[in-house]
Amino acid sequence: MSELVKRYTARERANHWFVALCFILLAISGLALFHPAFFFLSSLLGGGTWSRILHPFIGVLLAISFFGLAARLWTQNRISDADREWKKRLGDILCNKAGNLPEIGKYNIGQKYLFWTLVVCIAVLLLSGIVIWQPWFTPYFPIVLVRLAVLAHAVAAFLAILAIIIHIYSAIWVKGSIRAMTRGTVSAAWARHHHPAWYKEINKGS
């Protein structure tokens, strides 16, 4: 490993991992209540009742920390024409045989879709979660809204977990990515290959 490029500050990494830990706890306790096949997961949080009690509090922590991180990354996730061109080559990219790709910035369109999916899903999860938060808030909402909220919560959670599975797999698949979040740096070669426009931009100043 020769040259390294800074991708995330310590604060961004801490923020990301705080969100990630909350997400894992939420997925465990949420899936436990979603399908009986996952109920055993509730043991990891101390049983069904503890899962029910803790889940909404962790959810609030996630929402606050996630939107804190999202605010930092908001402008970098606008979808550009280069992203759309890049998307057309997705088949080749997945087969590891893509060359001459359009030059993309700090994030590719997959990462941007992930970002916006999570922004929408977490907003829905937060709002619907408040409606179904027993025993504190649910009694104040009409039953029709509560029923809509449980359904919306399940659908948004499904999409969010699916997005995170893709997110984690992408990090495993694209070698050299994980260190961006564990060490804060990536190799210059990685940056040039995966995010050439971003690489050029950060080198402009130096």
Binding site: I132, R147, A154
Partner: protein, 290 residues
């Protein structure tokens, strides 16, 4: 509570068959509203047998007392003053409580294994020791019956005195009713009994008298004889066509297995992609020369 003599037809959050070797008589409680005088002896009997003591409430100018179902009040009388025809006031008194649906929305929604069980005889019972307090049963119930306790965060409702029925006794409310408005027996007998009552009511001028045993929830094991069966809403908002909300059915129906399968599939897709396409690596030297 779990009783050896009550075989279980359905158990919340359980995907395998619960024990059902025996086929006991399907029971039902029949509430003949035309015979009810609103004495609330059934409320007292319920409190006594189940050892419940609600807080003393406030009066609001009606006879409803307590004003609503609570974790301590599993049955309440609801008094409605209704002018069914102009100039003819009727006082309709409905004993409210769990209807013990054949297709229980509470059980369908419950995520805690064994917190709600449906006995083969038709009783839908909450086993509070397994309850996690999420309130999903309230979301699933078409009759607005379960109540979360502020004391322990568990949900309570009428058990149809499952403990009494299990040993061959009738529910406490039935035992105490002084007018015979409440009767208990096999569901078939109760329907036959109701037919006699309905014929009698029709003879006495209640042309729309009928049995309330709503099909939308597969029938219920608590049934009403109504003088005005065409307008059940007159009886303190008894729903005309109760059914499990489509949102609850969607959430706890097809979505559950399909979404779980989808998540599993996504993980497998990733695994096999990695094993076939391989990792996406950047070669340092090649990048330097390019």
């Amino acid at each position: 509570m779990a009783l050896q003599s009550l075989d279980i037809k359905a158990r919340s959050a359980t995907t395998t068959q619960p024990p059902v070797v025996r086929d006991p008589v399907h029971v039902a409680k029949l509430i003949d509203i035309s015979k009810c005088i609103g004495c609330k002896a059934c409320q007292v009997a319920c409190m006594e047998w189940n050892d419940l003591r609600d807080e003393v409430g406030t009066t609001t100018g009606t006879y409803d007392n307590p004003r609503d179902l609570t974790d301590q009040s599993w049955t309440v009388m609801r008094f409605s003053e209704v002018e069914v025809q102009p100039g003819r006031l009727e006082w309709l008194i409905r004993k409210d409580g769990c209807m013990h649906c054949e297709d229980p929305g509470c059980l369908k929604a419950c995520p805690a294994p064994g917190a709600i069980v449906q006995s083969v005889n038709g009783i839908v019972d909450f086993h509070e020791e397994h309850c996690i307090g999420c309130g999903y049963c309230i979301t699933g119930c078409p009759f607005n019956i379960p109540r979360i306790s502020k004391k322990d965060g568990k949900v309570y409702k009428c058990t149809l005195c499952s403990d009494r029925v299990a040993v061959g006794l009738e529910p406490a409310c039935i035992k105490t009713c002084p007018t015979g408005a409440l009767v208990f027996g096999s569901k078939r007998d109760m329907i036959a009994h109701a037919e006699g009552r309905i014929a009698d009511l029709k003879e006495r001028g209640y042309a729309n008298a009928g049995l309330y045993n709503p099909e939308g929830v597969g029938g219920t094991h608590v049934m009403y004889v109504l003088q005005h069966a065409d307008q059940p809403e007159l009886y303190a908002g008894l729903p005309k066509d109760p059914h499990i909300s489509p949102m609850v059915s969607l959430w706890k129906g097809i979505t559950k297995p399909l979404a779980s399968f989808g998540l599993g599939l996504a993980v497998l897709a990733g695994f096999f992609h990695y094993m076939t396409a391989g990792p996406n690596e950047v070669e340092e030297d090649k990048e330097h020369t390019s």
